[in-house]
Amino acid sequence: MKICVIGNSHVACLKQAYDEGGYDFEIDFFASAANTCEHVKNVEGNLAASSEFTKKSFALSSGGLDSIRLEAYDAIVVHGLFPYEMNLNNKYAAERSPTFYSKAVIDELDLARKSVAMKIASEIRKTSKRLVVCSARPYLARQADSKPGNYERRALLRDYMLTHPCIGLSSQKNIAVFFQPEETVVDATYTDPKYNQGAKRGDDRYPEFKNGDLVHMNSDYGHAYLRELSNLLPGNIRQSQAMSQNTGCHIR
């Protein structure tokens, strides 16, 4: 079993966890800062970086590979470049507003459809039918004064994300939305701060992020993520495939 993880700085904690071992699948990482992963194109079955920066970042993070041979992998994970469910709140609210909004206006609020993850998935789908797993960056680490989120709202928007955006994606099939592991979540929309302590960057030296970064997580988070991910990988997803064959979406 071999998978490919494409993403931004949030891939670092997955890489750390993977390096610490304990997994029966092989991972190649392709990381590039912020949203620079959007600079990729499918060239004859290879996902190739279309900017020098992304090309260098891919080579650095993968150990020398500057493009991604899609058929070499059983699944492709796109991490940190998809919105989390709460990001669809505006779209959800607009669709239910007493004020009429046109489809073009509502589509502007569809952060899933407009995400870098979906751009990458579209490039992958030009030649490959392999499973694509899209996941958001983690929720911010909770602080002492964080206002609690709303579990019900999150559940509602999770259902909404799994039904509505996936309808638009159904032509691409075999795309899974992967939500943050529940064990890492506190107060509905925060990450337990224990997963934030000692978070490091993903290069060989693993220097720590500057103090106060609430966004990046540590290898404990990476382990939680990879454990959940393994349940989605081919061979483990027959049940979810059967459940979602009408939409082409898998659910975690």
Binding site: N89, N90, A93, A94, S97, T99, F100, Y101, S102, K103, A104, V105, I106, E108, L109
Partner: protein, 347 residues
């Protein structure tokens, strides 16, 4: 020996009001008939220049009353015609268009069912650029139009001050239906039909009559509403009168200016704010125009609005005029400029 002029203030004499001053120091150019407070709900509609007024009101702590808001989180709402005017009417260039919208919103008059289809997309003849790529379906267009009419009606009935900028005298009518388009069909969208679409350069009496009718309709629904009229200082993009565009512009603006003066002259609930003069008077040497001598620069907009708020604050008894913020940097949404695209077609 005294005469009637001897008791007048310095702002009534050219030398003391203008010649002895740098033009940036000219002040008290307007004496508002009524004051505006942050609690007043002010709605703005009209021609392109009116777009700046709403944002400037908001930036200066006044209540710009918007009744058709974008959904939360919409990036660049102006692209979809939100936060441009108080509702999503797009530009209302003429007083006859104002009356047409007011009848739809307040009199229960049904708007025409006309819609323009192009390449599978649907365009609203009364707001042809409100969605740049048109609507996905006729049903969507009609629902959006109905929403704009409802929101326009809500604006008229819930505001206490209406700022309206008169923009054009030249108009295009549907002869069979007896209604008016904001843009000539075939420019922003639609197809021009010479046997159906008629050009009318409205005269003083017609414009005044339509404005009076619109005011009466609005006052019947909202007796407490006050009006501030302005005339857009922006020259015509194009004229269909047959005259040179400079001559047509001067005639058009002169007529609109005269209408604004006439209708506000004997009514304490209606005022005229001289944005037109601030930009166009020879006193200001045309410095507030961009190099194309048509678009008003952000500095010009800011200068106009600074005068608006200074005069308003003096009216309210405040001496310390604020540093005026304006929305002047935001791009103006002016469908009329589309006409410039047709300039190259002339041989």
């Amino acid at each position: 020996m005294t005469n009637p002029y001897s008791s007048l203030g310095p702002d009534k004499f050219w030398r003391t009001a203008v010649a002895d001053r740098h033009f940036f120091d000219i002040e008290d150019i307007w004496t508002p008939k009524f004051s505006l407070t942050p609690d007043d709900k002010v709605i703005t509609f009209g021609s392109c220049f009116a777009q700046h007024i709403g944002k400037a009101l908001q930036a200066n702590g006044y209540c710009w009353h918007v009744t058709e808001r974008p959904p939360s989180g919409l990036p660049n709402p102006e692209k979809f015609g939100y936060n441009v005017f108080s509702s999503r009417t797009a530009n209302i260039y003429t007083t006859s268009l104002l009356l047409q919208w007011a009848k739809w919103a307040l009199s229960g008059e049904q708007p025409p069912e006309e819609a323009w289809e192009q390449s599978g997309r649907f365009y609203d003849p009364f707001r042809p650029k409100i969605e740049n790529n048109g609507f996905a379906s006729l049903d969507e267009l009609m629902k959006s139009r109905a929403q704009a009419i409802r929101s326009f009606g809500e604006a008229l009935t819930s505001a206490n001050t209406f700022v309206f900028t008169l923009g054009l005298t030249e108009s295009w009518l549907n002869q069979a239906g007896g209604y008016e388009y904001p843009m000539c069909p075939g420019t922003a969208a639609g197809t021009f039909n010479p046997s159906l679409h008629k050009f009318v350069n409205q005269d003083f009496a017609t414009i005044l009559e339509n404005l009076r009718a619109a005011v009466a309709l609005i006052r019947a629904a909202n007796p407490k509403i006050r009006f501030i009229f302005t005339v857009s200082p922006v020259p015509l993009t194009a004229t269909y009168t047959g005259r040179h565009v400079v001559v047509a512009t001067m005639e058009s603006k002169s007529v609109l200016r005269a209408v604004a003066g006439q209708i506000t002259s004997d009514d304490d609930g209606m005022d005229y704010f001289p944005s037109y003069e601030i930009i166009n008077s020879p006193v200001f040497k045309g410095i507030f125009f961009e190099p194309n001598q048509r678009n008003v620069s952000p500095h010009g907009v800011q200068f106009v609005m600074k005068n608006f708020f200074q005069c308003m604050q003096k009216r309210a008894g405040q001496t310390n005029a604020a540093n005026t913020a304006s929305g002047a940097r935001s791009a103006e949404v002016c469908e009329e400029e589309l006409l410039a695209a047709f300039a190259g077609d002339q041989k």
